[in-house]
Amino acid sequence: MAETARVAPMRIGEPVELLEISRAWLVDPVAEREGPGEIVVRDGVLEAMTWLAGDEAEGIGPDGVVVAPGFIDLHVHLREPGNEDAETVASGLAAAAHGGFTSVCAMANTTPAADEPGVFARVRGAAAVSGSPVELLLHGAVTVGRGGERLAALGELADAGAVGFSDDGSPVQSPVILRNALLYAGMLGVPLFEHAEDPALTAGAEANEGYVATVLGLKGWPVAAEVAAVERAIVVLGAVLPDAPGARLHLTHLSTAGALDAVRRAKAAGLPVTCDVTPHHLGLTDEWVAGARRWAWEALDGDGVARDPWADGALVAHPYATACKVNPPLRAAEDAAAVLAALVDGTADAVATDHAPHTQVDKEAEFGLAANGISGVETALGVLLAAVGARRLALGRAIEALTTGPAHVLGGRAGRRGEARGLVEGAAADLVVFDAGAGWTVTAAALTSRGTNTPLLGRELPGRVLLTVADGRLAYRDPEA
């Protein structure tokens, strides 16, 4: 960074006095433009942004230092209150900044659940104390205690700034409650974030139903459990629209070709549906549970059929690594390819991490008994850049899915910067600077999150984040840059 950047010394949380980056690759998803350029930030404001051309632009490419708007994560678990051993608001926001995120939306499945505004106040207090400039946005629970039976204080939560309603961790199981929640949330103009899973089909499930689970003797987690729940939610959405034209359904962490097809059809029919996908569902596959460690696109043969990791020597790690256990499960390579395709074609509006930190105690257990979840907010960019490097995804699309895509999902409730997630001259600087050409090794020590539960441990990822600036203030700075 030394050759292209000048940065005044500063500490986390303080306004950025001066930051000059010359000869970088700028990505501005609002202007739908990317190319060589330079920026100057002074006293927290993006003072100047200049596109370079001709000789000045020579030698600058998307494989070097990249400047992009700060990322938004629609789906993280910060574990506070109730499970601070796994993560706190402070450690989660710091981890987000390391991942390039300047806004995160925390899920409501804390203990107690965020089913009334008092929990919001407590979480916001923790964020203020942390000193992190990363914007904390909050989802409220759909039902009291996420119990699925009675509606939570949706109106009060909306007044307190809820960006979405979700019982995530669990689906809204009753179709009656789902319908009523869509009607009420539609009245309030707040989207319903649904974790789509039919729990009857997943009772006791351990790994994606298919070849890997069969060979490993793990109870299958069927694709149908997600597809059925998505289809049902879409049908219910269609039924409430006449009464609640403001109803909005967002389907989070979709992992199957069938579910994404359903969203594709619903969008084509004009229904107000959006969805996100996670980096792990597009980059990793169920063969990781067996001990493979190759990217999803490397696990497909020329005909688009999943390879056999037992037959082709891809098994390099012990099977049953609980870091690979997640809900929804890592899917077959064909589904992972469909997830990536949905991101490419826009069916998936956003990439969200479903950052789910867990303690070692909760993960160091028998596979079937271990907690579900991957700590992912710090590795999202790296996984997406791996897909970019493999020419499966355009850099611009990856950045869109981390910025304007999620801002669009949040609509009018998209936080302090609204839906504009571009590089805006004269506004508070909100951006990430990363070196696409430099890698970093994912280790427990390199992660800021308290949750080191990621199957990517030990792996080198592309895209070292050098600097994250949120609302004009320093959120993260690479200690070695």
Binding site: E206, E209, G210, Y211, A213, T214, V215, L216, G217, L218, K219, G220, D308, W310, A311, H318, P319, Y320, V361, E364, A365, E366, F367, G368, L369
Partner: protein, 345 residues
């Protein structure tokens, strides 16, 4: 695998490969040559078992801890007898009697067992993959005595030993596994060993409890299986499966399958899939009848079939001791430096 020839211990084993496995967690890692080594070592153990005194000093001073998180009599006792025949010191832990009921984690339990001086652990666990977690934290060897639906290596190897004792080379021999394969670690391990040996393996049962095996067989069809493993056939047509079979192995059907809504009734299962004399008549005249036990006579196997001359069910139990002696012996590593004849008496 073609490991260099080396001393493998007592004379008479004459094996071509050295035993390199520290643990035995699954049979999927065993090459055909390693499986042959187990078979030859089992031959030596059978000789010992034929003597008036069946005890040899091979594992003297070795501590073997047998921990079973699931109820089992025959496998646990078989391992205990095997270890004692080799003069190991044996500690038995039944899960209900251990600190499991106090909420201690598996990892803590294994560390405690190690601190108490165990050199080897034989483990039975209801969760697939649990022995891999034990192997990560235990410095000695872990022998999987059955985990969840996943693997039961010693059972598959004793099944193989029993088949070979009667049929010799299994290449092209038709072996049928009949029953609840979905929930069966015995079936999964037998898929690996029998396809490694070139048997013509058929998997048969009602479709709800065959789920996933069709896709598995499709993956391995046409020589696409992992190194050296042949394909296999999956069907719900019991008559086609049993026709001209050399071996028919019935699996236990548990009552819980009806409670889970997988099958209508034991009565209907017995009528459609039970191994009866009439069904067996379609097999080769001297076809072996096998069962890993415990049997539900009158359900998956008719009582009069279980006691036919060609039923080798009790022989499986007897061979189980010899196979487990062989596995404990190979895993103990004593063959490397032990004086010639450690098991030669």
């Amino acid at each position: 695998m073609s490991a260099p020839a080396g001393p493998v211990g007592p004379s008479g084993l004459g094996a071509e490969v050295a035993w390199t496995q520290k643990h035995l967690l699954d049979v999927d890692v065993l090459s055909a040559a390693e499986i042959s080594l187990v078979m030859k070592t089992t031959d030596a153990m059978k000789e010992i078992l034929a003597r008036p005194i069946t005890k040899v000093p091979a594992l003297r001073g070795r501590n073997v801890t047998i921990i079973f998180y699931e109820a089992s009599t025959r496998t646990r006792v078989s391992f205990e007898v095997a270890a004692k025949n080799l003069s190991a010191d044996v500690v038995n832990i039944a899960a209900s009697a251990s600190s499991v009921s106090k909420g201690e984690s598996l990892v803590d339990t294994i560390r405690t067992i190690e601190a108490l001086g165990a050199h080897m652990i034989v483990m039975r666990h209801g969760t697939s993959g649990a022995p891999y977690l034990a192997a990560e934290v235990f410095s000695g060897s872990v022998l999987n005595g059955g985990d969840g639906w996943h693997a039961h290596p010693s059972q598959a190897l004793l099944d193989l030993y029993t088949m070979r004792a009667h049929l010799g080379d299994l290449r092209g021999r038709k072996v049928v596994i009949l029953g609840d394969v979905l929930h069966s670690r015995v079936a999964r391990s037998n898929v690996w060993t029998l396809t490694a040996m070139g048997a013509d393996l058929w998997i048969c049962g009602p479709t709800p409890i065959l789920r996933g095996f069709d896709a598995w067989a499709a993956r391995w069809a046409n020589g696409r299986g992992p190194n050296g493993h042949g394909g296999f056939t999956v069907t719900s047509d019991v008559d086609a499966a049993v026709a001209d079979a050399d071996v028919v192995m019935a699996l236990r059907l548990q009552r819980e399958r009806m409670d889970a809504g997988l099958l209508p009734s034991l009565r209907e299962y017995a009528a459609r899939f039970g191994l009866t004399r009439e069904r067996l008549a379609a097999a080769k005249p001297d076809a072996l009848v096998m069962h890993p036990g415990p049997m539900n006579e009158g359900v998956e196997i008719a009582a009069d079939v279980a006691v036919l001359d060609r039923s080798v069910i009790t022989e499986q139990v007897a061979n189980g001791v010899a196979v487990r002696m062989a596995l404990l012996y190979l895993l103990s590593g004593v063959h490397g430096g032990a004086p010639e004849g450690a098991i030669g008496g």
